[in-house]
Symmetry: C2
Subunit: 277 residues, 2 copies
């Protein structure tokens, strides 16, 4: 470590956590955008999904993940989970002692800026949509915006099945997108970590008149800005490290991780973060 | 209670547990078949799904559910969860002190008996299929059988979305069933608690030459036999009771429960069964 013991050091890794493996698309965007940064990924696969759980439970899980990453001497944390961001971002920011970013604000902000008409669609899981977290961010940046949110609960299992270019997915997507297209949106936010894998199909369905905003890319861009502003960007020349931790034996981990991350996962370790267990 | 403290009483309720709400289809089959029996349902919604979790974890969860039901003075227990049955049936039987039935054996046994050709298809979640639990039961009853198992991971989210009579589901089902139909099966086991809701659609797709075996109905029939044999059948004349317990605030509980159970759920209570929490 090159920094003092009291603050984060530019040589430290960036921590990314998610309830499961979906956050690997965010990690991938971070690694693409910031190729000099080492990363530590934590997937709380023992307790996935967070979506249907009580708010207090989700906050406890997020704080346990935070403690784990802080222990790994991360210099910044990305909460790559919409549910945990919506429920626990301020708590994690209080606890971490390093800069913390969620996935909601960067995506919402990018959509508010990108839209010409201010008519913006948001697609995500049932939990994310019912939290209205994206609507709040978009309205905060752009009070005149009209936001239309649509839950697409089949998209995660379709991506996990590998049916990303498939007629079943195309038919389901048409069904989900129809009400948004009828509203005349010009911007569509992919507000779920699994959805970047559906970008080609969604892009084909909505046509060139609608801009897709990928929350994972927006978050990586926001992290870049945040590290620069805080003087925490890495100046490393050598290949940066990437460590992966999960909290339970991950069935199909390799296959899913390869799909979501776009490459093989090395240095995988199983850990416990449950402070009550 | 009319029985002694040392054994189960015919007037006691039947306990049914599942990792979530899917087991309500089994409860429904039990209530249809045995309208004089009171029931207690426990859905471990805080920890659903069990499928991807480690074997020891699943065993601990199943034993915690068992203790909860035994506390409710149940006279028999149905494990309405394929994963918990495959991982923990003998442990639960050791612990319970009352007769215990899983969902795997009744369905597998019914298929072995029903099939003329011995060529049997089994559809279920990825976890159930990879456990090969149905194959083992079928082969045990009928060593010459040829069993073909097919995971259908999209069926649970499709049922939960309510798309049980829908082109998206029809297309997905065609994809999943094709390899089984090519094998010339004459019997198809619905080895997942959500699948009874897909029976009309599946039946239409496979045609009249293939018999569908509904694990939930087979389990209710096996419970009927078991209670009779043990002298534990209820002779109650009045309307029997039905209590429902879940372990976490269940998002969309009412809607999903109505869909799976086929009626409204009264007397719902949230409880903790986690012995470590």
């Amino acid at each position: 470590m090159t920094g003092s013991d009291t603050g984060p050091a530019p040589s430290g890794p960036v921590g990314v956590f998610d309830s499961g493996l979906g956050g690997l698309t965010v990690l991938r965007a971070v690694r693409d955008r910031l190729p000099r940064e080492s990363t530590v990924y934590l997937g709380d696969t023992a307790r996935v999904p967070y979506g249907p759980k009580a708010a207090d439970t989700i906050r406890r899980y997020a704080l346990e993940a935070t403690d784990f990453l802080v222990d790994k001497r991360v210099k910044a944390i990305v909460i790559a989970c919409n549910t945990a961001t919506a429920r626990a971002l301020p708590d994690v920011q209080d606890r971490a002692g390093v800069p913390v970013l969620g996935v909601v604000e960067p995506g919402g902000r990018a959509a508010a800026t990108a839209s010409a008409s201010g008519r913006i669609g948001v697609i995500g899981t049932r939990g994310t949509v019912s939290s209205r977290a994206y609507s709040r961010v978009i309205h905060h940046c752009r009070p005149d915006a009209e936001v239309f949110e649509q839950a697409c609960p089949l998209f995660v299992p379709l991506v996990e099945e590998g049916w990303t270019d498939d007629d079943v997915t195309r038919l389901a997507a048409q069904r989900y997108l129809e009400p948004l297209l009828e509203k005349g949106i010009d911007t569509l936010v992919l507000a779920c970590t699994h959805y970047p894998l559906l970008k080609p199909l969604l892009s084909e369905l909505v046509g060139p008149g609608i801009q897709l905003i990928d929350s994972a890319e927006s978050t990586a861009a926001a992290l870049d800005d945040l590290l620069s502003a805080a003087g925490l960007s890495s100046s490393r020349e050598e290949q940066p490290g990437a460590s992966y931790y999960v909290t339970d034996e991950a069935a199909r981990f390799d296959l899913l991780a390869r799909r979501l991350l776009g490459e093989e996962v090395d240095h995988l370790e199983m850990v416990s973060v449950d402070s009550t267990g």
